[in-house]
């Protein structure tokens, strides 16, 4: 135990003095919330922007009644000249509405009149306004049809068949949490990023500096050495992860998320649950990093191996995005997957199965211990000792 403590103290002291490595490690947690805030502000702005919409129209004089509908919905109409396709493609306008010259004529003959909506389907930012314009035209069509029926003494009710009525089972928190998909990714990634430098320096670095041999001639078990190194890297990774979590949550609370009609609140209980849920993650991350650090042939090798690990936290969210399966208990037994789910569920104020906490904690923690033990065994191999 004293050996583990001695190694832990030494590695932390050594690691904390490496200012440059530390700075680059902790740039991630500091940068993440800024990114989240910026991105989310943009999303919110796009979703709520509706005032002062300019609508370029060709031939607005042909359909004054339809134009009135647009104006009532808040659009400012603007006569458009030139090639609408080219303008949309060049992104000088978001969309163009073109009323055909024979609008009145076809209308009078009860023929189908087509109003052209020219837009660029590959643009995400114009999707809302295009949908809005189409809905307005479609509503106008319904009104028109109803009026025609009334003129013939038929009740417009006759047109009513079946209509979909949507009932969203997601709570406001859940819908907000959907927007928060990247919080688990960020928080879990921080656990993989912040202790990375120390873990590599600890293993591959130690060997490259030729200080591994002097270390191994001490009368201690190699497992004890690894556990000390593991705890040091975990401590740093954990600190980074908690800072990231705190800053991400602060960014979420600061965001005007209610403008989306969503609700995001946070209680002290939720924060505590989050902390318990993610606690074993830095241990897991550091244990894998130490193993790869020792396994790698050189410092550079180790960096590229360990770099790949950073993407592990992205996997659960990606999987859930493409295979939207309901969460079931076995998922919590999978390290990182379990934690990723729990972060999302806690933020979404969903109920989590009671067994989820011990399941995720025990398997993740036990896996870390196992990996450390394997790493300790690896340190007994001559191939690994000699660079």
């Amino acid at each position: 135990m004293n050996v583990v403590r001695a190694v832990l103290i030494k590695e932390l002291k050594d690691g904390l003095r490496d200012r440059r490595a530390l700075l680059s490690a902790f740039l991630f947690p500091l940068f993440a919330p800024v990114f989240i805030y910026g991105l989310m502000t943009l999303v919110i702005k796009q979703n709520t922007e509706s005032e002062d919409l300019v609508l370029p129209v060709i031939g607005q004089d042909y359909a004054p009644a339809l134009m009135r509908q647009f104006e009532e919905a808040g659009f400012t109409l603007e006569a458009f000249d030139g090639s609408p396709e080219a303008a949309v493609r060049d992104k000088t306008v978001e969309l163009v509405v073109q009323v055909p010259e024979d609008y009145q004529e076809t209308m009078a003959n009860f023929e189908l009149t087509r109003v052209l909506v020219i837009h660029d389907g590959s643009r995400n930012d114009t999707r809302t306004i295009v949908r809005k314009v189409r809905n307005l035209i479609s509503n106008y069509n319904n009104e028109l049809a109803a009026l025609r029926l009334i003129a013939r003494g038929v009740s417009p009710k006759i047109m009513q068949g079946v209509r979909a009525k949507s009932s969203d089972v997601a709570s406001d928190e859940q819908r907000a949490a959907n927007l928060l998909n990247f919080i688990p990714i960020y928080v879990l990634m921080a656990a993989f990023v912040c202790g990375l430098g120390l873990a590599i320096d600890n293993t591959a670095g130690e060997r490259e500096r030729r200080s591994l041999e002097p270390l191994l001639i001490n009368p201690v078990t190699r497992t004890a050495l690894i556990f000390g190194k593991w705890l040091a890297a975990s401590a740093l990774a954990g600190a980074g992860m908690i800072i990231t979590l705190a800053l991400c949550l602060a960014a979420m609370l600061a965001l005007p998320i209610d403008e989306l009609g969503l609700n995001f609140t946070l209680t002290a209980g939720q924060v505590l649950m989050l902390l318990i849920a993610i606690l074993p993650v830095p241990m897991f991350a550091s244990s894998l990093q130490l193993l790869l650090g020792l396994f790698a042939k050189s410092f550079k090798d180790a960096q590229s191996y360990v770099g790949i690990l950073i993407f592990i936290p992205v996997v659960p969210t990606l999987v859930m995005q493409f295979l939207p399966i309901a969460s079931s208990l076995w998922m919590y037994f999978v390290p990182i997957f379990g934690q990723s789910l729990m972060i999302k569920e806690i933020l979404g104020a969903e109920t989590i199965p009671r067994l989820a906490y011990p399941a995720a904690f025990i398997t993740t923690f036990a896996t870390s211990l196992l990996v450390c033990w394997i790493t300790g065994r690896l340190l007994n191999q001559e191939r690994v000792i000699q660079s």
């Binding site: 004293n2 050996v3 001695a6 190694v7 030494k10 002291k13 050594d14 003095r17 490496d18 130690e206 500096r209 030729r210 200080s211 591994l212 041999e213 002097p214 270390l215 191994l216 001639i217 001490n218 009368p219 201690v220 078990t221 001559e382 000792i385």
Partner: protein
């Protein structure tokens, strides 16, 4: 006492040592002499418990290193082949770390550190981080951390390699001092005159085998030449052609 018998070790197809046996007695300085690649470092690595031999054994005071590595290592002070230091730790912090790994209390470490700092003339560098240390300063830190637990057996792998005259002299003084303290000192070198000057017993290794053992006089007599260096070259060449 250090006892090595019938060591053999191969790395892949390369036979690093074929058959190495020797003893190093207490209160004597034993020199392990051989060309680069003769098998000195490999023999010592087996001795300080870093690698396991295929055959044979290494014993420290009767304790087999392969059987009970930790007890054996606690009796050894080692300057290994790798001389790496932690550039962000000071001299004292190095001693503290290694002292703790040897299970010493902080008080013991404190007292012993002061002793070693005096012995090795490290007053000026004791609280400096080792980044930018000269070769000689680094060697002193390595030696001090090897001796922090006051071991009865000292194994030094090429302790004067690459050092300037002043530090080399310091290291030789230290070896002589350790001997007068009654320690068993074993060191390797490829420098004939150094071994001749310092050692009570000499073990010459060539091609992974011990080719001669004895006092400097006995070695000269065995080779039939007056000069120890000639004896070394002659014996090594004989082994190579055999």
């Amino acid at each position: 006492m250090i006892e090595v018998s019938g060591l053999k070790k191969t790395f892949g197809d390369v036979v690093a040592i074929e058959d190495v046996s020797f003893t190093a007695a207490d209160a004597r300085v034993t020199g392990l002499l051989g060309h680069n690649g003769a098998g000195k470092s490999t023999s010592l690595r087996v001795l300080y418990g870093l690698i396991k031999p295929e055959t044979g054994y290494a014993k420290i005071d009767g304790i087999d290193v392969s059987q009970d590595r930790i007890t054996a290592q606690s009796k050894l002070g080692v300057l290994p082949d790798g001389h790496g230091l932690y550039t962000r730790l000071t001299t004292r912090e190095h001693l503290q770390y290694f002292g703790r790994l040897h299970g010493l209390s902080d008080d013991q470490i404190e007292t012993r550190s002061e002793e070693l700092i005096r012995m090795l003339d490290m007053q000026g560098i004791k609280d400096r981080r080792t980044e930018g240390f000269s070769q000689g300063e680094r060697m002193k830190v390595c030696l001090a951390r090897a001796l922090i637990h006051n071991p009865r057996h000292v194994v030094l792998d090429e302790p004067t390699n690459g050092l300037d005259v002043m530090t080399t002299r310091k290291v030789r003084e230290l070896i002589a001092e350790l001997k007068t303290l009654g320690l068993c000192v074993l060191f390797s070198s490829h420098l004939m005159y150094e071994v001749a000057k310092l050692c009570d017993d000499i073990v010459i290794i060539a091609e992974g085998r011990v080719v001669a053992v004895g006092s400097p006089e006995e070695i000269r007599a065995a080779a039939g030449v007056d000069n120890l260096e000639d004896a070394f070259v002659l014996l090594s060449e004989q082994a190579a052609s055999a």
